[in-house]
C-alpha cells in the first residue's frame, strides 16, 4: 500500500526507456495550429478561450510587459492542460515533480528580475525599501525584502507541486478507502464515494486555479519590473 501510494509519482518508463519527455510534449498535440481564417470548432473554442485569458491577464501591462504575452499564455496553457490530463486514471502528471516546476519558475522569475535591473535599475533597487520606512528599521527591512525576493521562485514551484501532489494523493487514498469499505459497509463506501466525486470536482478546479495562480504571479513579478 505504501509503495503503491507514491508509485504514480515515479518518472515513467516504457521498456526501460524514459518517456517523460513524450508526456511533457503531449499537451501540445491537443492545441492544433489554426491554419484557416475560420477554423473548426475545437480550434475556434481554444482561440476564444486564449483571447479571453490573454485580454484579462495582459490588461495591467505596458508595452514592454506585453512582449511577454506569448510566454505567459504558453505557460498557462501548458500547466492547465498538464494538470487536467493528470487527473485521468493511471496517468503521470509532470507538474508533481519539483524539478519540473523549479525549471519553469526560476528562469521566468530570473527573467523578470533581470529585465527590471536592466531597464529600471534605480527603481528595481529602490523597490527593496518600502517608502516611508523609519530610519532604524531600514537595514532589517532591506534584508527582509531581499530574502522575500529570493524566496519567490521557490514558493512558485513548491506551491504548484504541493497542491497537485496533495490532490492526487487524496484521490488515491479515498479511492482506496472506498474499495476497502465496499465489503465492510456498503453505506459507508457510498458516502466515501460521494466524497471522492466531490474531491475530483475540486481537483479539476485546483488544476485550473493553480495554473492561473502560477501565471498570474509571474505576470505580477513582470509588472513590478517593467
Amino acid at each position: 500500500m505504501n509503495e503503491n501510494l507514491f508509485a504514480s509519482f515515479a518518472a515513467p518508463s516504457m521498456m526501460g526507456l524514459p518517456i517523460v519527455v513524450l508526456i511533457v510534449m503531449f499537451p501540445s498535440v491537443l492545441f492544433p495550429t489554426p491554419s484557416r481564417l475560420i477554423n473548426n470548432r475545437l480550434i475556434s473554442i481554444q482561440q476564444w478561450l486564449i483571447q479571453l485569458t490573454s485580454k484579462q491577464m495582459l490588461a495591467i501591462h505596458n508595452q514592454k510587459g506585453q512582449t511577454w504575452a506569448l510566454m505567459l499564455m504558453s505557460l498557462i496553457l501548458f500547466i492547465s492542460s498538464t494538470n487536467l490530463l493528470g487527473l485521468l486514471p493511471h496517468s503521470f502528471t509532470p507538474t508533481t515533480q519539483l524539478s519540473m516546476n523549479l525549471g519553469m519558475a526560476i528562469p521566468l522569475w530570473a527573467g523578470t528580475v533581470i529585465t527590471g535591473f536592466r531597464y529600471k535599475t534605480k527603481a528595481s533597487l529602490a523597490h527593496f525599501l518600502p517608502q516611508g520606512t523609519p530610519l532604524p528599521l531600514i537595514p532589517m527591512l532591506v534584508v527582509i525584502e531581499t530574502i522575500s525576493l529570493l524566496i519567490q521562485p521557490m514558493a512558485l514551484a513548491v506551491r504548484l507541486t504541493a497542491n497537485i501532489t496533495a490532490g492526487h494523493l487524496l484521490i488515491h487514498l479515498i479511492g482506496g478507502a472506498t474499495l476497502a469499505l465496499i465489503n465492510i459497509s456498503a453505506t459507508t463506501a457510498f458516502i466515501t464515494f460521494i466524497i471522492l466525486i466531490l474531491l475530483t470536482i475540486l481537483e479539476f478546479a485546483v488544476a485550473l486555479i493553480q495554473a492561473y495562480v502560477f501565471t498570474l504571479l509571474v505576470s505580477l513579478y513582470l509588472h513590478d519590473n517593467t
Binding site: K122, A123, L125, A126, F128, L129, P130, Q131, G132, T133, P134, L135, I138, P139, V142, V143, T146
Partner: protein
C-alpha cells in the same frame, strides 16, 4: 506610487538628501549601503577565519 515625479515634493539637505526612505535615489542608496555593509562584514569575517592563529612553541 513612488517615482521620479513624486521625488520633487521632498526637500532634504545634507546626508538625508542621499540616504532617506522617501525618494527613489535615497531608497536605492540605503539598499546599496546595507548590502555593501553586509558584504564587507562577511568579507572581513571570512577573511579573519582563513588566517590561522600562531601557535605558541
Amino acid at each position: 506610487m513612488a517615482g521620479p515625479e513624486t521625488d520633487a515634493q521632498f526637500h532634504f539637505t545634507g546626508i538625508r538628501k542621499y540616504f532617506n526612505s522617501y525618494t527613489l535615489t535615497g531608497r536605492m542608496n540605503c539598499v546599496l549601503a546595507t548590502r555593501g555593509g553586509i558584504a564587507l562584514l562577511l568579507y572581513f569575517k571570512l577573511g579573519s577565519k582563513k588566517t590561522p592563529a600562531v601557535k605558541a612553541t
